[in-house]
Amino acid sequence: MELVGFGAGGWGGSLLSGLFVTMEVAILALPLGLFFGLMIALGRRSKSRLLRTASAGYANAFQAIPELLTIFAIYHGCSHLIQLSMSELDVQTSWTIPGVAAGSFALSLVFAAYSSEIWMGALAGIGRGQYEAAMSLGLPGIASLRIVILPQAFRLALPGLGNLWIILLKDTALVSLISVSDFMREVNLAVAATHRYFALYLFACLGYILLTKISEFVLERLNLRASRHLVRVA
């Protein structure tokens, strides 16, 4: 227990900071992924055939490509692009994109692909009448989406998005492979110093389980709150 404690020789401090980095990567990826996902879903429902094909292609591609490959491609690709454009400008630099930024951006691209499916289902679950009512009120497209459709779609999407959040939380462990000091990497560092493989990796698993359990608890509350108007009062 003193191995993961905060006393002398304990790794509690660095493990805790790793846990915060893990949360940071996940929380940064979430809003971007949600927004991209909604855009992709709207694209897949669009009247334009080109937009439909492109959005569906995006969703299928990023559901098929391993998350780790996306992370590597973004991490190395962005650094590469920056260095290329810098050398165009005759600036010598070995600057690389921060791992946290690359990791959460890559994970948000993946999250977008999966969440577009959820958004599609939620948007399809809203009656035609709602769209027609918004139109007959003279609301322009964006406003009808923002005021009428999305508040209702969000409730339908919430359970599915919650599952994706938990998957996202676990996928953040992959950013340890591009040297982000997240929880997984801090555990690896502690292992390298102490050689307590089994205890520390078990602790890592339990740490993530704690995060997912807390998420499940909060999501359950959110679901109840979002559908509180449906609760039948005795």
């Binding site: 299928n60 591609a61 559901q63 098929a64 490509i65 391993p66 998350e67 780790l68 490959l69 590597f72 491609a73 190395h76 690709g77 590469h80 676990k170 996928d171 953040t172 462990a173 992959l174 340890s176 492979l177 997984m184 555990v187 690896n188 292992v191 307590r196 493989y197 089994f198 990796y201 078990l202 890592a204 698993c205 339990l206 993530y208 389980i209 997912t212 359990k213």
Partner: protein, 224 residues
Amino acid sequence: MDTSLVIENAGRLYDGFKLTLGLVGLSAICAALITVPLVLGLRSKAWAPRVVSQTYLTFFRGSPLLAQLFLLYYGSGQFRPLLEGLGVWWLFRDAFFCSVLAFALNSAAYTAALVKGAIDALPEGQWEAAAALGLGWVATLRKVIMPQAIRGALPGYGNEIVLLIKASSITMAVTLYELLGVVKVVYSRTFDISIYIWAALIYIVIVSSVRVAFRVLEQSFFRW
């Protein structure tokens, strides 16, 4: 995008591809075997098997596969005397075996939840009808329940296989270089990011073929 990078490294990429297929195939078979006792445990009337299976699901579905892989591969080293005594150390020393085991244990947890859901979704009348026909427990499962449950679980199982294919790309963390591992090595030699695009295309082709295969399976073999 020139193809020379792929052509030069075709042999390596093919080796990585074969390793990916081997990992996925073997893990899927082992996962299917582990799924059976898990589902029985989850649906058991006694509380002990239920708690054990449920704890198993919580553990393997609640933590990242990467952490589980590290736990198995590096963690088993601490139990070397014990494992040597049991005569299985040569297995746990091997990164391929540890990866297959980690994937199988992980995938079995998801598959068990899937199969349990498919069985629970069947109406009670199916069990009652089978009982009324005087079918025994094994015959009920084999002739009545499983054919319907498999049909219900098939699309989800296809997704699970796709997830397994994607998950297999993490074994480079335990020194096993499958397709993505090879790609990473090629990148660090050439610093040519187009290799990642090629890799993405290869994965899209693999996953699309699996999806098509499952769709054919759904439409041809399970059409009742």
